[in-house]
């Protein structure tokens, strides 16, 4: 019997910070490493000061609680500290590494893809890699083409990696608890535009299982599967469409690998219409992957072509108007829905 935990209101950023604290308190093998995560570059006199805690302050205060042995500022060398984290995971620790922006993955892809993701497989199950890599995604803060991408599709493509894309503070909290506790390599994508968003988060330390989608809004006419911040954009589109009598169901897969196919297929079986909204680039992306899955397994439930609303096949522009144009907007989503009904 589960009793409902008390609720508090947190920002998405606070929810991540809180999940880090909760897991680090319960498991002394957890260490956090990355550029500026302590915020003091291991300078003695800053330990007890108001250290930075990453560029957005997500890990602020952790070094004071857990000390410099567990909160490790690293050199600006992704290959080095991601490699160290993979090694630590393989040899008994439960590390959390912060890749500041996902756009930097090129610097450490061997460590992620050819080492961490394959350890269990290459050693016939005798090794494991309980590593969580937290990273920031998303356009919308004028951070230009090298700090604004999403790229979770790249990692979803790779076997051996779990990919987590929380859209709310509650999901960020519950999913990060599960990601850290998971015994495999997990990529945890925090959308930097959502850090300030507020939401109710249950107290307690129960994680949200990886691979379970969430229906963020129920509706009978069309299913929108939306990823990360696009859940919020789609909920806004649903409001626009509700005024026109169109009932939108918004499904948030929450994790792309594993993917909760059943929840998506059940929703489409109900509404017969599917729009997938994804801020990532369109080619070989999560959106087309989900579309292909439904076209295959849900073909006979469809009343219209599956429509994708994604970013264009370009890097993220710096120009603020162009950047806004790049991101799928509620208006564009609503227009796409109208087109298939």
């Amino acid at each position: 019997m589960v009793t409902a935990a008390p609720i508090r209101t947190l920002t998405y950023l606070q929810a991540v910070n809180e999940a880090l604290r909760v897991t680090m308190r319960e498991d002394p093998t957890i260490v956090l490493m990355g550029e500026d995560v302590a915020g003091g570059a291991n300078v003695d006199h800053l330990i007890n000061e108001d250290a930075w805690g990453g560029p957005m302050g997500v890990t602020k205060g952790l070094v004071q609680e857990f000390g410099r042995n567990r909160i490790l500022d690293t050199p600006i060398t992704e290959a080095g500290f991601i490699g160290a984290a993979v090694g630590a995971a393989a040899t008994g620790l439960r590390p959390i590494a912060e890749l500041m922006f996902v756009d930097f993955f090129g610097c450490c892809m061997d460590q992620i893809f050819d080492q961490g993701a394959k350890l269990r497989y290459m050693f016939g199950g005798k090794a494991r890699c309980p590593l969580t890599i937290r990273t920031q995604i998303g356009a919308g803060v004028n951070a230009a083409g090298q700090h604004s991408g999403c790229h979770y599709s790249v990692f979803t493509h790779m076997p051996g990696i779990k990919t987590v894309v929380p859209s709310t503070p509650a999901d960020a909290y519950g999913l990060l608890l599960s990601a850290i506790r998971d015994d495999d390599l997990v990529l945890f994508f925090e959308n930097k535009v959502l850090y300030g968003s507020k939401g109710e988060v249950p107290e307690g330390t129960d994680g949200i299982p990886l691979g379970v989608a969430d229906i963020k809004r129920e509706g009978a006419d069309v299913t929108i599967v939306a990823i990360s911040r696009m859940v919020q954009q789609s909920l806004a589109a649903a409001e626009l469409l509700a005024d026109e009598g169109i009932e939108v169901e918004v499904v948030d897969p929450r994790t792309l690998s594993p993917l909760d196919e059943e929840t998506i297929l059940n929703s489409v079986a109900k509404t017969h219409h599917l729009v997938i909204v994804d801020e990532d680039n369109p080619r070989c992306g999560a959106a087309s992957d989900i579309a292909a899955m439904v076209a295959d397994k849900g073909f006979d439930t469809l009343d219209a072509p599956i429509k994708l609303v994604t970013a264009p096949h370009t890097p993220v522009p710096f120009s603020p108007p162009l950047e806004q144009f790049y991101i799928p907007s509620p208006e564009k989503i609503a227009e796409t829905v109208r087109g298939i009904l």
Binding site: D221, A242, D243, E244, G245, I246, E247, H272, F299, D300, T301, L302, D303, A304, G339, I340, L341
Partner: protein, 446 residues
């Protein structure tokens, strides 16, 4: 029991009528069938008759008000029946039409705008455009997608469309207007409506007319009968080739109608002919009796010799509004039916390219100043199907006597004479005519 008088539905397309005048006052004693008020629609003005005897207790619809079909107009109380204001109000309220939200606009009213159902799109190979879900459902329910109309974008049938088709009784044919292309390339325009299971009633209008003349009558019949109304060659929206290039005789028109009956697989049917259309119907029944199970001849040509030369004068005269007005005045006994709009409609119809030439050719082949030249009266005894003969007693175009004479020679006849009616009962008293047609059609189709 009080009776609520409701706005009648006079035509296939009538949605509302405007009260133009009350013929009786509140408190008046009335008999069933008494004209109570006049109502104008887009097509005509007509009397609404009392559905029961009693006292006109309450006039609900004031002069000038537009009332939707089936909306409340008046309350008739039985003699000696007393009703409170509340009882009257609740009676009236019960008849107020319910608003349905299916056609709500797109903005802000919380109603999903339904796309109009239309014929499903097809690709070049004829494959109908239907969604995967619609195909699966149609398979499961045994629905033929060819019979499902589409609401999806681009004319795609959706699963909802299949569900709707499955829920509809397969038998209610909706109103459809289309053309038949004859073997010689002429197009014949027609309208079809009503349940497909009943014997088709095929309506053939008179000289210079169009299938529009049946509008009110079809509205009365369409719930129970399959109705098909044609524009005869040279008339209405059908092609109007030059007289030298085609055959505008009764026999020529009959051949075209036979081709339509066969193309639309309407045989065997009951032919309903008015005036010249009646002669066409007789011709078909004589030439090819297997196509016909009964004839309904309304103020029909082909039954005798006389025809009012005034009609021929008006056909020969230059088309004008004045001319059209004279025609309608010749046709209708009740001159209130001669509306400016009806006059203009007729005039515009005759101004269509080729219309007057065709009309004169048809008239010239069938009639002359010496009388009708149809050759049909001598053959009426050969008619082997039941024939309903109808005439307005006051018909000034073709004398009512023709009906009486024909009734003596046609082996199996029904006769209906309509008093106070001129040459066009389908306009002058559509309800009365509908009752007679309905009874006959039911009787002979078993």
């Amino acid at each position: 029991m009080p009776t609520l008088v409701k706005m009648p539905k006079w035509g296939l397309t009538m949605t509302a009528g405007t009260v133009t005048g009350w013929l009786r006052d509140e408190g008046a004693e009335i008999e069933e069938g008494d004209p109570l008020l006049t109502v104008e629609t887009e097509k005509a003005v007509n009397d609404v008759e009392a559905p029961s005897a009693g006292v006109l207790l309450k006039i609900v619809a004031e002069v000038g008000s537009e009332i939707p079909v089936s909306g409340p107009i008046a309350v008739i109380a039985a003699p000696d029946e007393a009703l409170s204001e509340e009882e009257i109000a609740s009676l009236v309220a019960a008849a107020q039409p319910q608003r349905t939200g299916a056609k709500a606009g797109p903005a802000g009213d919380g109603q999903r705008a339904a796309r109009e159902a239309r014929a499903a799109a097809r690709d070049d190979s004829g494959r109908v455009n239907a969604s995967p879900a619609a195909r699966k459902l149609a398979r499961e329910l045994g629905i033929d997608l060819a019979n499902v109309s589409a609401t999806g974008p681009g004319g795609r049938i959706t699963s909802e469309d299949v569900e709707r088709a499955a829920a509809e009784p397969a038998d209610t044919g909706e109103v459809r207007e289309d053309v038949v292309v004859l073997g010689d390339g002429r197009t014949i325009s027609y309208l079809v409506a009503g349940p497909t299971s009943s014997t088709p009633l095929v309506f053939l209008h008179g000289l210079g007319g169009s299938r529009g003349t049946w509008e009110n009558l079809l509205g009365e019949l369409v719930e129970e009968h399959r109705v098909v109304a044609l524009d005869l060659p040279g008339h209405g929206l059908s092609d109007k080739p030059a007289p030298a290039a085609t055959d505008y005789s009764i026999a020529g028109i009959a051949a075209a109608v036979r081709e339509v009956l066969s193309t639309l697989t309407l045989a065997p049917s009951i032919l309903v002919g008015h005036s010249l259309g009646g002669a066409v119907a007789i011709q078909i029944a004589l030439d090819q009796p297997d196509l016909v199970i009964g004839l309904i001849l309304v103020d029909s040509a082909g039954l005798g010799e006389e025809i009012n030369p005034e009609l021929l004068d008006l056909v020969d005269a230059e088309p004008s509004s004045e001319n059209a007005r004279h025609l309608l005045e010749l046709f209708y006994e009740d001159k209130r039916l001669v509306l400016d709009r009806g006059v203009e409609e007729m005039h515009q119809g005759r101004r269509r390219p080729g219309a007057v030439e065709a009309e004169r050719a048809v008239a010239g082949a069938a009639f002359s100043r010496d009388g009708q030249q149809t050759g049909l009266p001598a053959r009426l005894n050969e008619l082997a199907v039941p024939v309903l003969l109808i005439s307005g007693v006051e018909d000034r175009v073709i004398p009512v006597d023709h009906v009486l004479a024909a009734a003596r020679v046609i082996p199996d006849t029904w006769v209906k004479l309509m008093t106070g009616i001129g040459h066009v009962p389908q306009v002058e008293d559509a309800s009365g005519l509908a009752r007679t047609v309905d009874r006959f059609a039911r009787a002979i189709s078993g």
